[in-house]
Symmetry: C2
Amino acid sequence: MRNFSFVNPVRIEFGRGKEKEIGKYMSEFEAKKAVVLYGSERVRHSGLLGVATDDLKAHGIEFVEVGGVKSNPVLSKVNEVIKIAKDFGADSILAVGGGSVLDSAKAIAAGACYDGDVWDFFTGKEPNKALKIFDIITLAATGSEMNTGGVVTNEQTKQKYAIQAQCLFPKVSVINPELQATVTPEYLVYSASDIIAHSIEGYFTASYHPELIRMQIEANIKMVIKTTEILLANPDDYDARAEFAWAATMALNGFTYLGVEGYSYPNHMIEHAMSAVTDCPHGAGLSVVIPAWMKWYKDKNKTAFERFAREIFGLKTADEGIEALKAWFDKVNTPTTLKQLNIDDKILTEIIEVANHHSKDWGMSDIYTNDAIAEIFSYAR
Amino acid sequence: MRNFSFVNPVRIEFGRGKEKEIGKYMSEFEAKKAVVLYGSERVRHSGLLGVATDDLKAHGIEFVEVGGVKSNPVLSKVNEVIKIAKDFGADSILAVGGGSVLDSAKAIAAGACYDGDVWDFFTGKEPNKALKIFDIITLAATGSEMNTGGVVTNEQTKQKYAIQAQCLFPKVSVINPELQATVTPEYLVYSASDIIAHSIEGYFTASYHPELIRMQIEANIKMVIKTTEILLANPDDYDARAEFAWAATMALNGFTYLGVEGYSYPNHMIEHAMSAVTDCPHGAGLSVVIPAWMKWYKDKNKTAFERFAREIFGLKTADEGIEALKAWFDKVNTPTTLKQLNIDDKILTEIIEVANHHSKDWGMSDIYTNDAIAEIFSYAR
């Protein structure tokens, strides 16, 4: 294992009914004035928003509600809410929703404690101060509930970039699998694709990878595959929903990257260009990119690809493993071709151009040249 | 998965040379006056103590050194150091050694902030204040470096009990696998036995156990078995040493007990009586207890025992799995019979008596009656 420093102070409140205590949890961290951020009005109609704000009231926490965060969250919304948070004098922010809402909340939390342009934090500068972050997570996928990162799209520049800093760890994350039971089959499989992406980026790209960490990643992937199938057949299977949710958290809370050296996030880099240009769901973009990227990349780390084939699918060769994953994506109905996302040649050209910028800004342009990215996409036709 | 609340704020500094920065880490937590606690004088002769205290000096941290903590650490020593810490006005404690030193440090940390008898914290009372705890861990086994617990023996009453509280999380734990390379083969396999024990207690006894957590535990056990064999052949294999060390931490940092319901620690309860009476190494006692307990317990959770046989050893029946684990203990030379620990009938009678008290105090006497404990030991003859 390579040297590492690690800390993850997020408190997880997991299980049925935990959202009812959000005011209590926030008051334990002395929250007094909160922005309550959400996406679609569904969280109001379902009653969840009311349950949360009732407990804020019960604990004397003042709040202002702001909705309208969309999937592939955008910088303009973040800036709008930063102003609201500053005007309100917020000391904390509660995200009620999926990864998009929480990622936006992280950017708002940093921006509300900063006089400059919050986009600075997406392009090199690191925030050292933020509002206290809390969340009730309604979609298991991004792992944002137990890490320091958030992804936002700058609509003007088409950059879909990340903010990351120790001060962006949520104080308390509520994960109640029951709240995730209404996720549509489409978004369930997009989530599965996102969790698998988080699992494999380091697994395949690392120059050094500890075996114990590989085994933990494999456990996670196998559980995602298994529980996705259970949940497609029976959305109300609580235990499957819970294990799926916890696998999502574990896939990107840092533990699966401990002691790993020399890894990168090419699938994310490429997909971020796709969703920045087309606004496709992140997980749908990933399930198109992943098998294509795997075909293109496999010879650079054959051992890992053969291990993947063996451990995840009981197969032998790198190609068999890649085909099995693609076949599984097809089986559960998440797209694996550009055509399924209505991406024609004209759009693809634009995506490749944006990916090129991403590749440079992410420091990956030595491998991910214009030609390389075009070649990867050629496997997704 | 069952509802859970979870937080683990320990910062891990893992890898080569990390011990040289201990003063820096401690100063980040504003440590000013520290007790430096250790066990054998070997840590002085090896130069490790000097390396650590040099960095304390470099960061202006005053300290007092106290050695002489023994394996199966005792209350009298804890009380002695509590007085030293109080007289010195310590705000922190640095443990340099294995689990015994760190466990003692936790008890001292709580006792130094308390006017009463520290044993209160082992018999029902929970401390809410403690010195800041830091450690450089030289033996991978107990997992104490990333949890809230510590075990100490009251020599007078023969109670080997635990202290546990949120305030006992170490602030920073240094794990440099190189420092663990001088561990003797005996203590390496005792450590392996301890890690396996931490892994299986919940695995076999839980009334409900999430599958993802089972898979993570299985990964841990397989890695311990594999790396123990590598290290017995080549003690200087850094990567194996590192994965062994990290498996030890992961086995008892809380993650393998998330969402698990209705579990207990019978192997530890019984072994604590053995080491309280005979002062045998904890891991050696455990490798005697575990196969015996498994034979006695197997029918109460047949599915888990069959799964264990299959996943860990590629075998089928519960009995085959138990025999395979016992055979592995025999192969790596950790004891599996009472005779190997020189425990005769007279000593055994005393152990059973002490275990009986433990069983009552730990709330396990409904299952672990006098007769049951005697029967378990009958499998270890």
